[in-house]
Symmetry: D2
Subunit: 360 residues, 4 copies
């Protein structure tokens, strides 16, 4: 839909995947059939993944759109010559925005970037309701166990992580959060969620979900103490959150028991189940976010690219935010499609909100 909208607005588009597992082949085929330049298929290896990015860059883009920042990093690290002609870029993920800010702070960013991720209508919807539902869907499909009566351990440094980690709560799981941010830990406890370090949680968890954008969340020492039957999965963008390599070395045997579900047997007989090889369980074992959630994220991507074009020459090489009014406009259109009405402030009320002329 986003590709078609960009094309209908007059853009020429070349496209590659943002993750080896994120492409739906039928969608890619349909777009190719419409004449769109597409380099993407489901289940690429790393070499193929970067080959696709390289192919899409032969197009010599004037705007870049990223979900994970691999495209923009490739431009900056391997094709600096392309950067000069790029008007600007967008980035969809928390991790990508974080790294692009670090790059800008080092003076290394060669064109302005808009942090689509940071739009309220993106991160507070896509990252919460999209990730929550699609991760739960992936976990249900990959392992047909009840979630009730389970200790569900989530590690979540961003909104998406929390949503994914808490999704099983509605189905009767007892949720445990491990945290690195004190305010987030405190909020979790006030919602009835237990908080403890991963070293402790590893001993009591039944289902582990990582969604942090950070590496090495679940590592060897955690596998050592996990219960027999523990299930481990990741819904973060990259597959470095769970140290599968360590588990491979520790296990005495391994077998696939279902689609997206591998059983590792430890020397002491305990079995640990890894879903989707530690890759995004919501994409690999289910179908990703519902379109009703992606619509707002895509509206932000579209409007961000339009903004970069409209403000060509006016933005410096930093990571920029989208204006707050755009969030309200997108959300209002969404409410209209749902047939839901809200109130509006009267002139008198607006005046009251900023009135400092008198006391109360």
């Amino acid at each position: 839909m986003l590709v078609r909208a960009l094309r209908d607005a007059g853009a020429e588009v070349s496209w590659s995947g943002c993750n080896p597992l994120s492409t739906q082949d039928d969608v890619a085929a349909a777009l190719a059939d419409e004449g769109v330049s597409i380099y993407a298929w489901h289940g690429m290896n790393t070499e193929e993944f970067y080959w696709c990015i390289e192919k899409s860059l032969e197009f010599k883009p004037t705007l870049t759109l990223d979900d994970g920042a691999d495209l923009i990093f490739t431009v900056h690290n391997k094709h600096k010559e392309l950067a000069d002609q790029v008007i600007g870029g967008t980035e969809e993920t928390t991790t990508g925005v974080h790294r692009l800010r670090a790059m800008a702070a080092d003076g290394k960013l060669r064109y302005p970037v808009i942090a689509v991720n940071d739009a309220e209508t993106k991160w507070d919807f896509d990252n919460v309701y999209g990730t929550g539902q699609s991760s739960l869907d992936g976990i249900l499909r990959a392992q047909n166990h009840p979630l009730g009566a389970r200790n569900s351990v989530g590690r979540a440094t961003a909104t998406a992580g929390r949503a994914a980690a808490c999704a099983p709560k509605g189905m009767g799981a007892n949720v445990i959060a491990t945290e690195v941010k004190a305010t987030a830990a405190l909020k979790a406890t006030l919602e009835g969620i237990r908080v403890m370090p991963m070293d402790e949680a590893a001993k009591v968890g039944d289902i582990f979900i990582t969604a942090t954008g950070m590496k090495d969340i679940i590592v060897g020492k955690h596998f050592e103490v996990m219960r027999d039957g523990a299930i481990v999965c990741n819904t973060g963008h990259y597959d470095c959150e769970i140290d599968i390599e360590a588990l491979e070395k520790m296990a005495v045997s391994k077998r696939q028991i279902r689609d997206s579900n591998e059983e590792y047997t430890m020397p002491d007989g305990r079995r640990i189940y890894v879903l989707a090889q530690g890759r995004l369980v919501n994409l690999a074992a289910a179908e990703g976010h519902p379109s009703e959630v992606m619509d707002m994220s895509f509206a932000n991507q579209f409007l961000a690219l339009k903004r970069l074009k409209d403000l060509h020459g006016e933005l410096d090489n930093q990571v920029h935010m989208l204006p707050e009014e755009q969030d309200q406009e997108i959300a209002q259109i969404k409410l209209d499609t749902m047939g839901l009405g809200i109130d509006t402030l009267s002139e008198d009320q607006i005046k009251y909100a900023t009135d400092y002329s008198a006391g109360t």
Copy 2:
């Protein structure tokens, strides 16, 4: 506790109430007994309220601390001469901060202000968990009806409002939100809450809770269509959210049926119940926020005043934010007191978070 902490840190303190109903007389008496200058008692009228503020200003403060901005507005509107010697001020409420920002934008603010309300450890805890629990407590005390099976209508333009409006959900109420902000309306629907304009909600609601910091949320046209037995209350700072005056004119009779609960009988026989005369139901009918929630708000107040003193001369006459590290420090101390541990990122992980040198 805040007064004692300020005094122990070397401050001389003079104190007046922030609301005619917010003072606990025993606490005021205990502080007076310790020699603190206190002008406050429970149940003042408007004239007495401002007399107290005037009395506390005779003290000629060098720092002002506000919960509702009445003190700082009095300084600016009636005692401009005092403003010159004031190093800075703090403000606790969303509404107050909003108005002080408007004042600063007009160039009318005469000394720097720190928006204590905007600290994450204040608004995301005090406004959510404090207001939620204390409002529910007030409603339970003022009307002994079950919350289950009730349509609970909340109007909430800020966090505190949403919390208060949703508190009955845990007790089986079916929550309806009326909104003026499109993103907030959309989030509510994604949490299973119905969204509609107040004109519609007025017809189906059983319990109405306002907490907006805005006037005229529930007015005459709403009373006209409410169900027999509807209960109306407010947990916002000022008592202008519900148009009690309009109700007084419409009703044919009125009687107090319980503490903090008045029954208005309409010409057609319908009865509408107003809790605490439309004043803060959590303070007037219950005891306000638990101390375990106020501790973090007060830590922010204390540290904000210290910051104003430490940075004397360095801050311009604007509304300033507290540094984010202070939030994490306060939250960490709170977690420590609760015996809860969190994880810390390794050097390697911190490096990973900002690494843009290679692809994924």
Copy 3:
């Protein structure tokens, strides 16, 4: 309301309280003013309590109505001569019904009893929603701490207990259930509630609520291991669930810090808070069940007494159930008053439900 309804239906009524703390003096006074024979006031001692029962028995009743079975046991144990003229009795509580069944099994019951408690419109509403809300109300009033971030330990052998124990869940508490019934324990875990023996729960709980109808739920060994600041209360009918006597002996000092809240200091400095002296916290610290919940319980009481009269001579001296149709009739009337509609099965559908003539 029940007294008035009985009187309006032609009964002569004499009334005493079912618990030393359960009488609201203003209600008793109003009834006395109407000429009803009332022997009850708030805060009686044990001697006064039984004196009131004796006084109400001077009336020589032909029907008895009990909430806790003290009246009927007094008739059987001390006034056997009265039993011969009694047509039948009713009992409102789980504990009372349990004991009356034991009495009947021993052939000691001298007249038929209807177990009002066992009507679905009583136990599945009064015991769940009434006890849940009123206990939470009592706990909020007696201790102004946040329930979020608390481990709330409930011991619950009956529905009412579970409801009271789980009520804090909606306010962010992490609920722990201790159980003696395996199926109940299993259901709790499937709802995300942790289950453990009281000996373990005593070490981690912040708020303890008993509601079992059983004695000695929280005893000396539990007080020995509780955390500093633990809060203990009971919402069961009798005050034997918490061994206050043991706590009195263990503590080095005791002081009342609020209404219905006493602080016991242990030799090692830990403080334990007991609400309402271990008596029903929902009655002693709040106002008991909302009338919208009691209405159905009272309808059952009324109809049970009418049934005993109508079937005089036909019922043997056992504990009898109310007919299931009465539940549906009461619930239907309640739905009607709430303006809620349900569907009805067509003739064709009713036939389908019992059709065994063919396969599917």
Copy 4:
């Protein structure tokens, strides 16, 4: 597992499916490979379904085990000669038990039946947590829409129906219940669920789930008023709850948009989506109940067959209940496997529970 347990206990087993869609072919093949007589495959037509039952009856069983009562009805309706040698039978479903009770009341039941469905460890677990999770799983797979912000309409005359209808609540749906039983309707409203007749709910629902064991729940008049985009599915045993035939006649076109998801376009352009052709969405679009839930149901089936054999000659031709102790024994074993402990009553406490010798 159940087949293997029966065989290991010494039984000879012949097996056919209970529903055209409920067989997993790999499981059937594995059992056949072990020498078990199996007549079942996924996706049979009605003729094949009954052929399989006939084939399994050639085995001339002495015990029958049913899930839906098709086997036992076939014995009674077509093979009366077999009934004489049957010791007894079991039935797994609410509908089946209901019809068998009607048959027994008419004096038509030819051998004793045990209502496995009515064991607490069956209906209060399998029907609640099994159906809830597997139905949600099926709905997520068959339509990738968010459940948040949706009006989810459930019609539920039994526990399983309520569970399935409420499962979306945890994911942010606003749940509406349609009911035929007044007490169930009242409970739903006290849990914050809206109650209305299907004629009204049909106009506002986004997702409809039937699970009643009753026919004609959603019929032509409901399709006429549904919103564009409404999704309709069934998780009850038989496919007669949704009148697909009526929809076929009303629609101007029909196409399959995904696995288990057909779009019907109405004359006015509205689109209605039917999942799994109105057959059990949890089996047809997902994988049925998790094994951790079925284990207790199967334990009841096994012990019920053993009980029929042990009590051969002692039971009359009625529908019998399992003893309550069996529930507690099964639940206790389950808790043990989960490592969860509960308390036990002391002698003194047991005595207290039935003590009627004195007052309180």
